[in-house]
């Protein structure tokens, strides 16, 4: 990626010091191979240039306000009862919609999945996976999809990751029931570095809904540095939903990449709702012939939120298809940066790629930067891209009002309608409903009338 800089890197700032790292390692009782990997990542972190506004990916995203040395690696401390309780309502809600799930609160696993509902799949927190499935982690964890070499945040994550989720579905196994994972920060939780690893072997099928949430934190600064890695083997089918709903005191950084193999199909839905500032790289690589990926994004920002999402559709094999639709709504003084890239390699003939980002700007002080991009080396492809940023149409409001609909309701209908075509693509009804409700709630936040 383009964040590398040739100038002398400023020293990595930090509460993530050598001393902190050694203390962190001692607290964890981990096998040699993992400790070695963490050491290697920590070395990379120390050497990695800290992003500056000169880097293309950070040009529009100012993180000078992030004081990394104000945070420390999460210690091994059980979340207290109040912190657990703060996430309970969300756990209950997810439990009514999906078959079984796992939860992590303040960087510690708090609930495990019901093995009876897994149909032969492995679905455990990552700490447990280190003990029970080390061979899987050695092979897949931070080796291929996401690596510590990407940038300072990827290295930081690889050195300090705590908890997270492993979903492993063996060959031919179809997990019918949708699974969920809940990752929360509550009360005195300040740092989360969870990792999501999903591996579907040949012909496997699964649905995983992940939701991150900050609750009951009274505005204390928090930091999340995460990663998502997805491997979909030949003919596998995965629906993955990632709803990011951190509270607005949380800094959110995430590196996310899926490798989609031959004839495999991935539907990846992103809900980007929370955090104070987010910088996310979401990438799908179509690595095998006939691989398909559909990417859906619903973003909504309020207040002074700043959400920067960089998407990439990497076509590496012939006859691959990708279809990305992101939609964003912005209120108040918030800002959305979306930058997309479709890359088609020379051998990836007959690629069919689509990329679209639309934004609805609901206040004069909000701003959307929407930047599509294409890099095509093959000559027999179909690639379409587009980006729009518009306001709520006054004529629509007048038309609705002329039928007795109040201005407030008219705007709500218009905003809901704006997102309808991305909701329509999401084949999980509770996810549609969650996103719809989240957008409706955020639309009502604050006293200022949008438009």
């Amino acid at each position: 990626m383009s964040s590398a800089s040739t100038t002398t890197p400023p020293a990595a700032p930090g509460g993530f010091t050598e001393l902190a790292f050694e203390t962190f390692l001692r607290s964890r009782d981990e096998p040699r191979w993992l400790i070695d990997r963490r050491r290697e990542a920590f070395t990379l972190f120390k050497a990695a240039p800290w992003p500056t506004s000169k880097d293309e990916e950070w040009r529009r995203t100012d993180i000078r306000g992030l004081k990394l040395d104000a945070f420390a690696p999460p210690g091994r401390r059980e979340p207290d009862a109040e912190a657990r309780a703060a996430l309970d309502p969300l756990w209950q809600e997810l439990s009514t919609h999906y078959a079984t799930g796992i939860a992590q609160v303040n960087a510690e696993a708090t609930r495990a999945a019901d093995p009876a509902k897994l149909g032969g799949a492995i679905f455990v927190d990552l700490g447990r996976a280190v003990k029970e499935s080390p061979e899987l982690l050695r092979r897949f964890l931070l080796t291929e999809a996401v690596t510590p070499r990407e940038d300072a945040f990827a290295a930081l994550h690889a050195a300090f990751w705590t908890g997270g989720t492993l979903l492993y579905v063996p060959r031919g196994v179809k997990v019918e029931a949708p699974l969920f994972s809940l990752v929360g920060l509550a009360r005195d939780g300040h740092v989360d570095m969870d990792h999501t690893l999903v591996v579907l072997e040949e012909g496997a099928e699964a649905t995983l809904v992940r939701e991150t949430s900050g609750r009951d934190r009274a505005g204390a600064p928090a930091l999340h540095v995460g990663a998502v890695e997805i491997f979909a083997g030949r003919g596998a089918r995965l629906r993955f939903v990632n709803i990011q709903n951190w509270d607005t005191s949380t800094w959110h950084f995430s590196r996310e990449r899926a490798l989609v193999g031959s004839d495999a199909a991935l539907q990846w839905t992103v809900g980007a709702l929370g955090s104070r500032l987010a910088k996310v790289n979401q990438e799908v690589a179509l690595t095998g012939e006939g691989a398909r990926a559909q990417v859906n994004g619903v973003m909504f920002t309020t207040g002074r939120q700043h959400l920067a999402y960089f998407t990439r559709q990497d076509h590496q094999a012939p006859h691959t298809t990708s279809d990305l639709l992101y939609k964003g709504g912005l209120k108040d003084r918030s800002r959305i940066v979306w930058k997309g890239m479709i890359r088609v390699e020379k051998d990836a003939q007959r690629t069919d790629a689509y990329q679209k980002d639309d934004n609805l700007v609901l206040s004069d002080a909000a701003r959307a930067d929407s930047i599509p991009g294409l890099e095509i080396e093959a000559n027999d492809v179909r690639c379409t891209h587009g980006a729009t940023a518009g306001r709520v149409d006054e004529d629509m409001i007048f038309y609705a009002r002329s039928r007795g609909v109040s201005k407030e309701t008219a705007i709500r209908l218009i905003v809901e309608g704006f997102f309808a075509n991305v909701y329509d693509r999401i084949t999980l009804e509770p996810v549609q409903e969650t996103l719809r409700q989240a957008v409706a709630d955020k639309l009502q936040l604050g006293a200022a009338t949008p438009v």
């Binding site: 007048f398 038309y399 609705a400 039928r403 609909v405 075509n421």
Partner: protein, 277 residues
């Protein structure tokens, strides 16, 4: 009880430019009025101003509905007070289905004191009523699930307007060029829908048109000619025939001052119209 829509000395400006120069018109419930006039005479301005479009500034005059000052009301409050405008160019609202939009609208109109967030009218009752009205207008039930006016043909849009009219049951309905863009069969279907509805609910109707075609189906008892921003002639149905056979030249000769204004407005109107299309 018969309500009255009363327009008195109405002056309306757009972007500081006066379009209507003192319009007087009184409509009682159950009456059908036709407002005719050449392009650019101010017909659509009157309809938008009555409904309260924010770009149309009323500089003088009054509009009351059953004694209530309409001009003091927001557009949605005017709708709740019993006024309906069938748009010449209905606006598409992508992603909002005809059914969900109408359920909001019907709820608000029938429960004008409802607060935001309170319950909508029951889905079952609403669906049943919507189905019946769509049947009467010869509309496919699938129509209710389509996004409002999005990708609708000209005829579908006008039918959707009449469907909304039928569901909202206003005391007064303005039909702004409802026949434009329709073939003769569609004009007939739409007109029959309006007639059926008006007879049932004794609605006061104001048909705005520059063709007499739709008036073969919706028979006006009162005909007014809008010219140069004011109503220059009031009469009965015979006025439609006069315009049909003689055009507007005699109006022009009879009202030279209005003709000057009309010419002026025509010049102003041309570029605006292009934008509107």
């Amino acid at each position: 009880m018969s309500k009255v829509l009363s327009i008195h000395n109405l002056h309306v400006a757009i972007a500081g430019k006066e379009i209507l120069k003192g319009v007087d018109l009184t409509i009682r419930q159950g009456e059908v009025h036709a407002l005719m006039g050449p392009n650019g005479s101010g017909k659509s301005t009157l309809s938008y101003a009555l409904m309260g479009h924010p770009s149309y500034e009323v500089t003088e005059g009054s509009v009351t509905l059953d004694g209530r000052d309409l001009l003091a009301l927001e557009p949605d409050e005017r709708a709740k007070a019993g006024l309906f405008l069938a748009f010449q160019y209905p606006t598409a609202i992508p992603g909002v289905t005809v059914a969900s939009f109408l359920r909001q609208a019907v709820t608000n109109i029938r429960h004008p004191d409802r607060k935001e967030g309170e319950d909508l009218i029951p889905m079952r009752d609403f669906r049943k009523e919507l189905r019946e009205q769509m049947d009467e207008l010869g509309m496919d039930q699938e129509f209710a699930r389509r996004y409002l006016n999005e990708g609708f043909s000209g005829g579908e849009k006008k039918r959707a307007e009449v469907l909304q009219l039928a569901m909202l049951r206003p005391a007064f309905a303005i039909l702004d060029e409802t026949d434009s863009g329709l073939d003769i069969d569609a004009v007939r279907v739409v007109s029959e829908g309006v007639n059926r509805f008006a007879a049932k609910h004794t609605t006061g109707i104001l048909v705005i048109t520059h063709y007499q075609r739709i008036l073969n189906y919706i028979k006006p008892g009162f005909v007014h000619i809008l010219f140069g921003g004011r109503i220059v002639e009031n009469g009965g149905p015979e006025l439609v025939d006069v315009l049909e056979t003689q055009g507007y030249d005699w109006v022009r000769e009879k009202y030279p001052e209005a003709a000057r204004d009309e010419d002026e407005m025509e010049k102003q109107h041309a570029p605006l119209k292009q934008l509107a299309f």
